[in-house]
């Protein structure tokens, strides 16, 4: 009885009608107005059975629990650090959430100083958007050397690829160390020439993320840039 008004994977604008009738269910980025489902954001339509959602293509990072992000230390308090996580809110890293034992009177700049970049986990987000970060998880650390690139946080899944296929392909081809934060900050460490290649590739992925056949295009681009043959590992 319900009627779809748009096709799957098309771009919709806010306020566009997506479906009629009560058979469909509104999910993220959509809302119901009487018997119609309407998009509330600019994004790609995703129809999964009866559930309709819009995957946003733009917008700032919204912090989520258990995300691993790259953050910048912006301030030091008595009990911890304030982190800039490139979202609308800043995060708090408490002294208790570090791996080391830190004495009450210790100089906190010895651990993380203002301006340092760290890889950290988000452990809690309240309704008022107070964000707690932790350095206890796996892979969390301070970043030394390398360079930081900011990308659209909604393109992060494309940069990582299916089960990390894209990022491991870039890592293998260039020999760079890459960490991708869920908030759209990417840390690259390697030889300067290779770092520049990685930056170029990341920008290319960011621009062409919504066009199909991305992996093949990135592969040929990588081969051209590095003059090496690359084999794509199949992930099952």
């Amino acid at each position: 009885m319900g009627k779809l008004l748009v096709e799957d994977k098309t771009i919709v604008t806010p306020g566009e009608e997506l479906a009629e009738g009560m058979d469909f269910l509104p999910a993220e980025g959509t809302f119901r107005d009487k018997d119609k489902i309407i998009s509330s954001r600019l994004g790609l339509i995703n129809i999964n059975g009866r559930v309709i959602k819009t995957i946003p293509v733009a917008g700032r990072y919204t912090p989520k629990k258990e995300d691993t992000i790259i953050a910048k230390v912006t301030n030091i308090l008595m009990s911890g650090w304030i982190l800039d996580i490139d979202s609308a809110y800043s995060a708090m890293l408490s002294v208790k959430e570090t791996r080391d034992f830190i004495r009450r009177d210790a100089d906190l700049t010895r651990y993380y100083n203002i301006g340092d970049y760290i890889v950290t986990d988000i452990v809690m987000v309240t309704s008022q958007k107070l964000i707690d970060a932790s350095m206890k998880g796996l892979g969390t650390r301070k970043l030394i050397g390398g360079r930081i690139v900011k990308v659209n946080p909604h393109k992060v899944p494309r940069i990582i690829g299916k089960k990390g296929s894209m990022v491991s392909m870039i890592k293998n081809a260039t020999g760079c160390n890459i960490i991708v934060g869920q908030n759209g900050l990417v840390w690259i460490n390697g030889s300067p020439e290779n770092e520049i290649i990685v930056v170029k590739i990341i920008r290319k992925i960011e621009q062409e993320a919504h066009i199909s056949g991305l992996t093949d295009r990135i592969k040929t681009f990588l081969e051209k840039e590095t003059n090496k043959k690359i084999s794509i590992q199949k992930v099952e």
């Binding site: 771009i11 604008t13 806010p14 306020g15 566009e16 980025g29 809302f31 107005d33 309407i38 509330s40 954001r41 600019l42 994004g43 946003p56 293509v57 733009a58 917008g59 700032r60 919204t62 609308a88 809110y89 800043s90 309704s127 008022q128 958007k129 909604h154 919504h210 066009i211």
Partner: protein
């Protein structure tokens, strides 16, 4: 003497040629360009981000903050002094109120979305052009919205109801002129801005709103197409 033919040869219910583009300012979170005839508006949207001064924070809702600025040599005669003046502040306020019914910032408590409207070239109808561009820029910034807003000025020149007045019509000397900028919310057809300079009878106003609704639905299509164009799949 009656106003039988428009100064630039348009039909009475015809707007000036419109040009719209999204994503024109690289460093902004969202941006748009909207040109109607000789009036052009650039809008940059930043945020949601932390609000300063902090007493403006609202723990229940995010805040929308608009700025309106005419560039020094944008008008026809003298240099416009840049920066806020009484007129600019008022227009910024009505723009904010015109956009507020569609923008949904409940997800971003204690934060602000800044909208900067810059007018490099003006020929009447600047607040309408600004609202059209701002609505596009907000969507481009990935802000949750219930719909989009389109605006156009409507008026009476001597004895004729005309849509989208230019400066020569606004300053028509052979008869009286009324000028009414109107903003319409796309989905609900609600009026979110209506200001009136000059006099208009009750019937004329009713008629005027009906004509504006038609023009605004055309503008709405142009806005949406411009947003979609940015993410369209280009065949190489």
């Amino acid at each position: 003497m009656a106003y039988t033919k428009r100064n630039d040869g348009r039909k009475f219910d015809e707007t000036r040629p419109i040009e719209a583009k999204a994503g024109v300012i690289k460093r902004a979170d969202g941006s748009a360009y909207f040109k109607i005839g000789k009036t052009a508006a650039y809008v940059a949207v930043y945020g949601p981000r932390e609000i300063h001064p902090k007493f403006l924070q609202n723990p229940r809702n995010g805040k929308l903050r608009c700025y309106y600025n005419m560039m020094p040599f944008s008008s026809m005669g003298n240099r416009v002094r840049p920066g806020a003046n009484r007129r600019a502040k008022e227009i910024a306020m009505v723009t904010e109120k015109a956009l507020l019914p569609v923008v949904d910032l409940t997800e971003f408590p204690n934060s602000v979305v800044d909208v900067f409207i810059e007018l490099p070239q003006t020929d009447a109808g600047t607040r309408c052009a600004g609202i059209c561009a701002a609505s596009m820029a907000l969507a481009d910034a990935g802000i949750p919205m219930k719909g989009m807003v389109a605006a156009v000025s409507m008026g009476r020149v001597d004895d004729k109801l005309v849509v989208d007045l230019d400066y020569s019509e606004e300053s028509y000397e052979k008869g009286t002129v009324a000028d009414i900028p109107i903003a319409i919310v796309s989905n609900t057809q609600e009026v979110s801005l209506l200001q009136m300079d000059g006099e208009l009878s009750r019937d004329e106003l009713k008629q005027a709103i009906e004509i504006v609704k038609k023009s605004c639905s055309k503008i709405d299509k142009i806005q949406r197409n411009a947003l979609k164009e940015r993410y369209e799949v280009k065949n190489e």
